[in-house]
């Protein structure tokens, strides 16, 4: 807590002050404090220094493209996985898009005597002595990229096929200016007829290894997801049909509750991870879970698995679970011990002849969520440090937490006093395990069409996740809507960039996004966005519009009609800004227009839902019908996480 207070003082003192503004409505005020140099510290911790981003690029002398021709080929290993082939294909496709030149893709065995772009662990790379050394491999981890230019050849690789694919995008970025803002909003050099091959020495790894896909934009578009370096669920062993909330998939109550009632909480909503104090029975349950994981390990080539509680805030209240809670101040301890036990069983199996072929560095992860959110630690105020209460609460080396602070306030970063309990918990968990995975929340799940403000907290939080060594991040959003409004496309872009490098200049990222996502309409749409952000702050400060679960956003006082109408007029103006493009470049026009229309949905929804009395009955019906048609055309198919958008039509009577 002390950390938080100290930082707050800095916030107030570092930036402002001086006298009282003679505002037209205010009389007098407090005497301002003149800042001293000690107050010039940043409001929240600045750049995170722990990343690997070694980028060396300069123009070389070799001709990559000359007079509209290139002698380069793309070489892949004789045998390689799909992602390596995809990497090669992407390079070929995007070079063609930039220059009209098709480079052949060949395998090592068919490599002609010419310059090449090597993708993956090719024989060509081995022959050239280009490989990822042990030290670099450790720094790259699973998804880092390694790009080298040597003797006018290019070597693109990662420690995994995913890393290789991402390395291909890295090379394209620094050779051809490749950048992705959306499915169609791809920026790359064009009409290239002459180009030198850039000399590159790049060792670049994401600050957060895995960014989980959480938007329909990427869930329904594999190419976009890959280009944004966002992962899908396929790193996790699937237990049942999902990696999450799978405890009952392991220990099916329909089968086992009658046989082992001690395996379940009194109300049957969770497992009992102490088996009501029966250690032998608990071992039997652990063996059941371990066997299931072992069978999935055999079937799936994945290295992460979860043992995750059911999605409720309840917990077992048996005497043993209650005693643990009283002793450790959290319900997480029984889960830690259970997962450790399962981990040990699996390690034993790996050592058997049956299990050895499948041995891997398996990570077992449980939710730190609701009842298991607090860490079993003590806090020393004098030293501002946390420590495990005892050794029995430490996670095994390969056991980790999936921290999901669902009640945190995401308009503010975790350094803010609003989020003190969640910041504290995270700091505590750092002493319990080195394996931290983050599950955060980026939208209003009951109101998909209402924009939410996470822009003030995003970078500071991502830096914090990197600082605690989070390996995986799900910044959960509108995963089940094919497309989303409320500047979700911007959030997706920021997610993609910031997880890779938490120190990117966020304002610069936002500028680039608007320029390339809206084209000639960028200035107008940026004006809408900036006003929206200031309005968020206004609501926060004057109407206590803050919190995640606690906000009910559908009130007229939050969204004045004239403000919504102005934002809608900005979208109309944006369409006019694009008009000249209709003839010059119909494809670009259609792309930008769709993006503007997608963003117009949010203020239109709020106006038509909250301010229907501003229209006659026939006008309102017509506008709502038009809104519905636009949602259908733009594939905005969800009104909320649990509600299809057709329910909105029903409530509107259309």
């Amino acid at each position: 807590m002390k950390n938080i207070r100290k930082i707050l003082v800095c916030i107030l003192a570092a930036l402002f002050l001086f006298g009282v503004v003679a505002g037209c409505s205010k009389e007098g005020g407090e005497t301002p404090v003149t800042p001293g140099s000690e107050n010039l510290a940043p409001a929240t911790p600045g750049a995170w220094e722990g990343g690997t981003h070694e980028i060396y690029v300069e123009e070389g002398s070799a001709d990559f493209i000359s007079n509209g021709r290139s002698d380069y080929v793309i070489v892949i290993p004789d045998e390689c996985g799909d992602l390596v082939e995809t990497a090669a294909s992407e390079i070929s496709v995007l070079i063609y898009e930039a220059s009209g030149i098709t480079l052949d893709v060949v395998t090592d065995a068919a490599l002609p005597n010419t310059n090449y772009i090597s993708v993956g662990n090719t024989q060509a790379a081995a022959s050239a002595g280009v490989s990822i050394s042990g030290d670099i491999a450790a720094r790259l981890d699973d998804n880092g990229v390694y790009v080298q230019t040597k003797d006018d050849n290019v070597y693109i690789m990662g420690t995994t096929d995913t890393g290789t694919l991402y390395a291909a995008y890295t090379w394209l970025e620094y050779q051809l200016g490749f950048e992705v803002y959306g499915a169609d909003e791809v920026v790359i050099a064009t009409d290239v007829r002459d180009m030198k091959l850039n000399e590159m020495n790049i060792i670049d790894a994401p600050d957060i290894q895995y960014m989980q896909s959480t938007y329909g934009f990427t869930d329904y578009n594999t190419t976009l997801r890959q280009r944004m370096r966002i992962t899908d669920n396929t790193i996790w062993l699937t237990i049942g049909n999902s990696p999450w909330h799978n405890s009952f998939k392991y220990v099916d109550p329909d089968i086992y509750r009658s046989l082992h009632p001690e395996w379940y909480s009194e109300d049957g909503t969770q497992l009992c991870y102490t088996a009501h104090g029966d250690s032998a029975s608990l071992t039997e349950m652990a063996e059941l879970v371990a066997e299931r994981i072992e069978s999935e390990i055999i079937a799936q080539d994945r290295s992460y698995v979860t043992i995750t509680m059911e999605d409720t805030s309840t917990w077992c209240t048996c005497a043993d679970c209650t005693a643990l809670n009283q002793q450790y101040g959290t319900d997480a301890v029984s889960v830690i011990r259970f997962c450790n036990q399962v981990s040990a069983l699996i390690d034993e199996w790996f050592a058997t002849p049956e299990g050895t072929p499948y041995e891997r560095d398996l990570k077992i992860v449980f939710f730190a969520y609701h009842a298991t959110e607090p860490a079993p630690v003590t806090y020393d105020e004098a030293t501002d440090t946390y420590a495990p209460i005892d050794d029995t609460v430490l996670c095994a080396d390969n056991v980790g937490i999936l921290y999901a602070p669902i009640l945190a306030t995401y308009q503010k970063d975790f350094y803010d006093e609003y989020n003190a309990p969640y910041y504290t918990a995270l700091r505590g968990w750092e002493t319990i395990t080195d394996n931290i995975y983050m599950w955060t929340y980026s939208t209003g799940f009951h109101y998909y069409l209402v924009p939410t403000n996470t822009y003030n907290s995003m970078q500071a939080n991502y830096r914090l996740w990197a600082e605690v060594g989070a390996e995986w991040l799900l910044d959960q959003s509108q995963y089940n809507s094919i497309q989303s409004t409320g500047f979700c496309a911007l959030k997706l872009y920021l997610n993609a960039k910031l997880h890779w490098n938490v120190n990117y200049d966020m304002e610069e990222l936002i500028d680039k996004f608007f320029t390339n996502y809206f084209g000639p309409a960028a200035t107008t749409m940026r004006r809408y966005f900036d006003e929206l952000r200031s309005h968020f702050l206004f609501m926060e400060e004057t109407m206590d519009y803050v919190g995640y679960q606690g906000i009910e956003p559908l009130e007229q006082r939050y969204w004045p009609a004239t403000l919504l109408e102005r934002w809608i007029s900005y979208c109309d103006q944006a369409e006019e800004d694009l008009a000249a493009l209709a003839e010059e470049d119909p494809t670009a026009y259609a792309m930008y227009l769709e993006n503007v229309q997608l963003e117009s949905l949010s203020p239109r929804y709020l106006l038509l839902d909250l301010w229907g009395n501003r229209f006659s009955e026939s006008e309102l019906t017509a506008l709502r019908n038009q809104f519905r048609n636009d949602c259908n055309a733009l594939e905005v198919n969800r009104y909320a996480e649990k509600q299809a958008i057709t329910e909105l039509w029903s409530s509107w009577g259309i």
Partner: protein, 758 residues
């Protein structure tokens, strides 16, 4: 696929493209067939019938097919378990797509050009503009084919010359043949061309209109005969427009069939304008009209077809003019009636005797004007006999405790004598003991426009089957109306009409009358006259009518239903100060009482009476007119309509109008702003002034956006807001200062500027 059974129509194919159990892709294909002639859908390689779209057992609303016999086929996929799906079409519309040659699926049909040609193509006159004939272009695939229209002299020869088309006309400069070439091209490159040849020559005879006969004087108030005319030198179709203008005034009359009603004494200029295809020419003469000792009745009120004995009708609205002074002077009109028992008081007329009557309007020496109507005795003002509201020859009507029975023993028609609200609802049933008739016909017409309406025919059903319904002769569907009742008890059905959506419901059948083939525009007056008829009567025919527009029809002898108020238009609810509000006309109707007192009152937020823009105090005024007024105060304005029928039953309708401040405050920089600075340097923020149209004390807030994109407030907030007039940046980059000012209504002004910090 299911139709009418619980098992459905099996259709086996693989959604996984998976050929299991020795199957092949061919046997795993999905087949869908549609026989347009029989409107039958089939599935499977063996064409198993799924359903007929015109089967009344399954469908209550019939589908009449695609309008032009063609349709677009589309297929969508959903609930993906993967990121994509691939469909392979091997055959569409009997086109084998496996052969590789896809020429057959190209559009090879050129657009169609339809030129609006006259019966005889007029000759062009050298030196005179010649209007091109209009044309419309259509294409099966391209909604907007390219179209051009060019004119050539010497078309097709090496010396062909093209003529400019200006404002839809070309001007031939020499005699000869000119070809107008109409050309259209669709997206697939199919071209259609049509030509029209026009011969041009010097006009052989000048266009002229020659007056015949002699000028005759006339009298004001009389129809005046003008001179005749002859025409010559015309090309193509021609016409002559004749007008009479009173000299020294703006008064102009159209002369029809050689006469016009000269309302004023004076000198008229009678002008004849002859126009042919090429040009026009005029001729005129003066005509003198003297003051005439004439009185003329020009307008009489329309009487309803049926009057209710004992009910008072206002027959004001008759207009007569006396022309003795040389100008029309309105003069009094009186009226009399053949109903000797009727009461006349001023313009109020109360008929008393049942039967056909004549009302005659008189004014001085004017020729009287008579109108006829039928008076019906219903017990108005006394004990009401609801059955008497059903009036017609060859019918009898009687009332029971639950309904009014209307019966006939031969083909007969009847009318419900009082027009009701156009959003009608009628509940009726066929008498199962008097069902010897083939068609129950209902007619619904606008009482102010007999041409506006529609006819509903309900056909006697086979027992156990639905009854077929036709609207204006078009089969609309069927519903469970029954001629046979249920074990002797009649089965009621409701016919209702929604004025907003123009949907007509007959039992469970719903028909959209706004679309083809009906294209019904609605009842403009807001009222409807209901008529009925028994057709194809072969014995005893009868129906029970239990209610109209929520008015129960039975043997009760008094009215229990309130009047109904209907607005003849839409009104908005939300306005800004200074806006003009329109109060639309409204009507009040009562099923049994033609006489409904009806007023409208408009009040402002302080409850004061509002005055319209034309100076009318809107306090209990006639709602049948439209009023406009300006809202100049914030708050709620109220519009109250009140109606009361002769029985004292009342109805009111209340409409609120919100006037809200929609104007955001204005922010003005007082002394400009500092746009550059350095790290660690104190940078002042701009001083602003905020004004608002309604809020005296506008609160504003100042925000600062750091170069890293984080936005923070530049003030502290306790009981009051304390601002700071500067900030000290700690990093270089772009810092943005934003001012957010909101008035009491929540309207927000947001302005910002950027400071570049080095």
């Amino acid at each position: 696929m299911h139709s009418g059974d619980t098992w459905g129509t099996p259709s086996t194919f693989s959604l996984y493209g998976d050929c299991a159990n020795g199957q092949t892709y061919a046997t795993q294909a999905y087949y869908l067939w549609f026989d347009y002639t029989s409107k039958t859908l089939y599935t499977g390689a063996n064409m198993t019938e799924v359903v007929r779209f015109d089967d009344p057992v399954v469908f209550s609303q019939f589908w009449n097919g695609f309008e032009n016999g063609t349709a677009y086929l589309s297929i969508t996929c959903g609930s993906y378990n993967s990121s994509s799906t691939t469909l392979v079409f091997t055959n569409i519309a009997n086109i084998d797509l496996t052969q590789g040659d896809t020429e057959e699926v190209r559009d090879t049909q050129a657009p169609a050009i339809d030129i609006d040609l006259p019966a005889e193509i007029p000759q062009a006159v050298v030196g005179q503009p010649y209007r091109l004939f209009g044309a419309t272009v259509s294409d099966d695939e391209d909604s907007d084919p390219d179209f051009s229209c060019r004119v050539w002299y010497g078309y097709g020869s090496s010396l062909a010359s093209e003529f400019d088309v200006i404002d839809g006309a070309f001007t031939p400069d020499r005699a000869g043949d000119y070809v107008i070439e109409y050309s259209a091209k669709d997206n697939f490159g199919n071209v259609a061309t049509q030509t029209v040849t026009v011969r041009a020559a010097a006009r052989s005879e000048a266009l002229a209109v020659t007056l015949t006969g002699s000028a005759q004087a006339g009298l004001s108030g009389e129809n005046v005969q003008v001179r005749g005319y002859e025409v010559s030198g015309t090309v193509g179709e021609w016409n002559v427009a004749v007008t009479a203008s009173l000299q020294g005034s703006d008064v102009v009359y159209d002369v029809t069939d050689g006469v016009f009603l000269a309302e004023y004494a004076g000198t008229y200029t009678v002008t004849y304008t002859l126009s042919d295809y090429i040009s026009s020419v005029s001729e005129s003469y003066d005509l003198t009209v003297e003051a005439g000792n004439i009185v003329r009745i020009t307008e009489v009120p329309a009487l309803p077809d049926y009057l209710i004995a004992g009910c008072t009708y206002d027959l004001s609205g008759a207009v007569a003019y006396a022309y003795a002074s040389g100008s029309p002077v309105e003069t009094a009109v009186t009226f009399s009636s053949t109903d000797e028992q009727a009461t006349i008081s001023g313009s109020l007329f109360t008929p008393a005797t049942e039967g056909e009557i004549t009302v005659t309007f008189s004014a001085g020496t004017a020729e009287p004007v008579s109108v006829t109507a039928t008076v019906v005795e219903v017990g108005y003002g006394d004990s009401v006999h609801m059955e008497n509201y059903f009036y017609g020859a060859n019918i009898t009507s009687s009332a029971s405790s639950s309904s009014v029975a209307v019966q006939a023993s031969q083909d007969a028609s009847f009318t419900f004598i009082n027009p009701v609200d156009a959003g009608f609802s009628i509940t009726a049933a066929v008498d199962p003991e008097r069902n010897a008739f083939g068609i129950l016909r209902m007619t619904f017409t606008d009482p102010e426009d007999a041409a506006c309406g529609f006819t509903l025919d309900i056909f006697r059903n086979e027992e156990g089957a639905n009854a077929i319904v036709e609207i204006d002769g078009n089969t609309a569907g069927s519903f469970s109306g029954s001629w046979y009742g249920n074990e002797g008890a009649p089965i009621s059905f409701t016919i209702s009409y929604n004025t907003s959506t123009k949907m007509l419901s007959i039992g469970s059948l719903t028909v959209d009358l706004s679309v083809a083939p009906y294209s019904f525009g609605g009842f403009a007056s807001g009222r409807v006259s209901i008529g009925g008829a028994f057709a194809e009567v072969s014995g005893e025919a009868g129906i029970f009518v239990s209610s109209i527009n929520n008015q129960s029809l039975n043997s009760r002898d008094y009215d229990i239903a309130n009047p109904q108020i209907t607005l003849l238009g839409a009104m908005s609810r939300s306005f800004a100060p200074g806006d003009v509000v329109t109060v639309v006309p409204a009507i009040a109707t009562d099923v049994l009482d033609p006489h409904v007192s009806f007023t409208v009152t408009v009040t402002d937020p302080s409850n004061a009476i509002v005055t319209s823009q034309s100076g009318v105090a809107l306090d209990g005024v006639d709602p049948g007119m439209q009023y406009t007024f300006v809202v100049d105060r914030l708050g709620t304005y109220s519009v109250l309509w009140e109606a009361e029928d002769g029985s004292g039953l009342s109805q009111s309708s209340y409409f609120t109008i919100s006037v809200t401040d929609n104007q955001a405050p204005e922010i003005r920089y007082v002394n400009g702003s500092v746009r550059t600075g350095s790290v660690g340097q104190t940078i002042p923020v701009a001083e602003i002034e905020v004004t608002d149209d309604f809020t005296d004390d506008v609160v504003y807030y100042v925000y600062l956006t750091r170069p890293d994109g984080v936005m923070i407030p530049l003030y502290t907030m306790a009981e009051t807001v304390t601002y700071y007039n500067g900030f000290i940046p700690d990093v270089a980059g772009a810092w943005t200062v934003t001012y957010y000012a909101a008035d009491d209504a929540g309207n927000a002004a947001i302005v910002s500027y950027t400071v570049n910090v080095m």
